[in-house]
């Protein structure tokens, strides 16, 4: 069953394009990874799901959540969707919590707002903290964010995200600011708890291997477009778009130590600077004349004129 459907989403900020016709479906309980370099439109895609667009932004296309057109929701229905059905976890947990309120206040706020009694909200908060591996949960409720490490605080944010029983979790680089051993722990918890609750996940990261480890499918973004979608398990063997292949080949682990890394000439384009034809044409080693002139249509798994020959 399709839980979320993005149909030809476009976003422009002050008239300058940021997203160009992004289409993607997420099934109930499915995890989809959005990968790509800075400026590719990953965050904007996720924000457009809950209509959290910056000032000056104009959006086109349709977002459907559980069949309902998000663009047509009343303010009250949109608030309900944001607070109950969809949970968000961002890169910096310190920006997500109120620094002067306690962890307990942060965790129970939404439930209290929904009319749950203080005692039951607290009980749920304690249980949620234990589930994400935060020990001594009762004591943590009385602590403030500055008393917790980054990894611990991100687990508190995940606990809060799970509390309302969301059907979709939007996670934007949730472990990028964490040390690698802490990242493993936080990602394992997010993955385990999401599966237990059968919640869908949109996971933004620049780390292809991390995305492949916790997602069912991977969508690769470049210059405001999705250029390829493929099953995570087939990432290394079946990647066909030249940009996906370039990303895989440019990681330091891809060649023997000391050998030259395969690089993509030039610098990543944004939706604003992308060429008229294929967005990757000016950096693509295989580009032909039609790649520069004609925009490829996303067919099957990728948007590329040369899929048949590559």
């Amino acid at each position: 069953m399709t839980l979320l459907q993005l149909d030809r989403i476009t976003v422009a900020i002050n008239g300058q394009p940021v997203l160009r016709q992004v289409s993607l479906e997420v099934a109930a309980g499915e995890a989809v990874g959005l990968v790509g370099e800075s400026g590719s439109g990953k965050s904007m895609t996720v924000k457009s799901v809950v209509r959290l667009l910056p000032p000056g932004a104009t959006a086109g296309g349709t977002v459907r959540f559980d069949g309902a057109d998000v663009g047509a929701l009343s303010p009250a229905a949109l608030r309900r969707m944001r607070s109950r059905d969809v949970a968000m976890v961002f890169q910096d947990p310190r920006a997500a919590v109120n620094p002067v309120r306690t962890v307990g206040d942060f965790l129970t706020e939404v439930l209290r707002d929904q009319g749950v009694s203080r005692a039951i909200a607290t009980e749920k908060a304690v249980r949620s903290l234990s589930e994400v591996g935060v020990g001594d949960a009762t004591r943590r409720l009385n602590q403030r964010p500055y008393e917790l490490s980054g990894g611990l605080l991100q687990r508190v944010v995940i606990a809060a995200a799970l509390l309302t029983g969301p059907r979709l979790i939007l996670a934007d680089e949730p472990t990028t600011a964490l040390d690698v051993t802490t990242q493993e722990e936080v990602v394992a918890i997010l993955d385990e708890q999401r599966r237990l609750r059968a919640a869908a996940l949109m996971f933004i990261t620049h780390d292809l291997e991390l995305a492949a480890a916790v997602c069912d499918r991977i969508a690769v973004m470049y210059a405001g477009e999705i250029v390829e979608i493929l099953p995570a398990a087939r990432l290394h063997d079946d990647a066909r778009h030249p940009y996906t292949r370039a990303l895989l080949a440019s990681r330091p682990g891809a060649v023997a130590p000391g050998e030259r890394l395969v690089t993509v000439p030039g610098i990543p384009q944004s939706a604003l600077t992308a060429p008229a034809g294929c967005v990757f044409a000016d950096r693509c080693p295989h580009a032909e004349a039609r790649c520069h002139d004609e925009r490829p249509v996303f067919t099957g798994s990728a948007a590329c004129h040369l899929l048949e020959v590559l």
């Binding site: 800075s38 040390d179 690698v180 620049h206 480890a213 682990g253 130590p257 690089t263 610098i267």
Partner: protein, 237 residues
Amino acid sequence: MLEVRDLRKEFKGVTAVDGVSFTVPAGGSLAVVGESGSGKTTCARIVTGLEKATSGTVTRHGSVQMVFQDPYQSLDRRQTVRSCLAEVLAHHRRDRSRIGELLDLVGLDRRLGDALPRHLSGGQRQRVAIARALAAEPRLLVLDEAVAALDVSIQAQILNLLVDARAATGVAYLFITHDLSVVRHVCEDVVVMSRGRVVESGPVERVLSRPEHEYTRRLVASVPRPGWVPRRAVSRD
């Protein structure tokens, strides 16, 4: 080239670096890896003289330059690339005519010499920072998370550049990083730090393929790779 012996640094009673020793041979490449709070950056700052050790010795044979993580903060935003390099060359009594050569070495179009930092991308700025460091013809370059903030396709360009620059100039590297795949790619030896101490050291190939210390093992195991499944460790609260 560089010899660090029994380094110790205390900040207001907290020991950040505790009995750290390592050496970088001439033209060699040593990585110091560890997580936040391991003391690796403090070591780098002591080596380059930005910080004073509480005790221990640092012996440098020849000049040392440093490249920082954030190319947005390490360049003067009102200074063109050319003027930035000219200033360093003049200070070290080197010939101004080397500017073009330096731009070539770091793979920057010579026309970008007149650009201000705000006209450059992150990768281009990091190239300028590396060119500026190499302008002084140092014997040792200390790179503190110098590729951490770059996108993967740009990171690959900079890593190739660093491999080439070492081959061309014979400069030695002290790489401060948390990224083990970068270590594997550009370093011969590695020092693993945890909580201010060296827990393991040796050739990169041996340490990362057959780690002996429990902490190194966990560090290696937590790097996402094909077939990797993230695991919950025993809670460490």
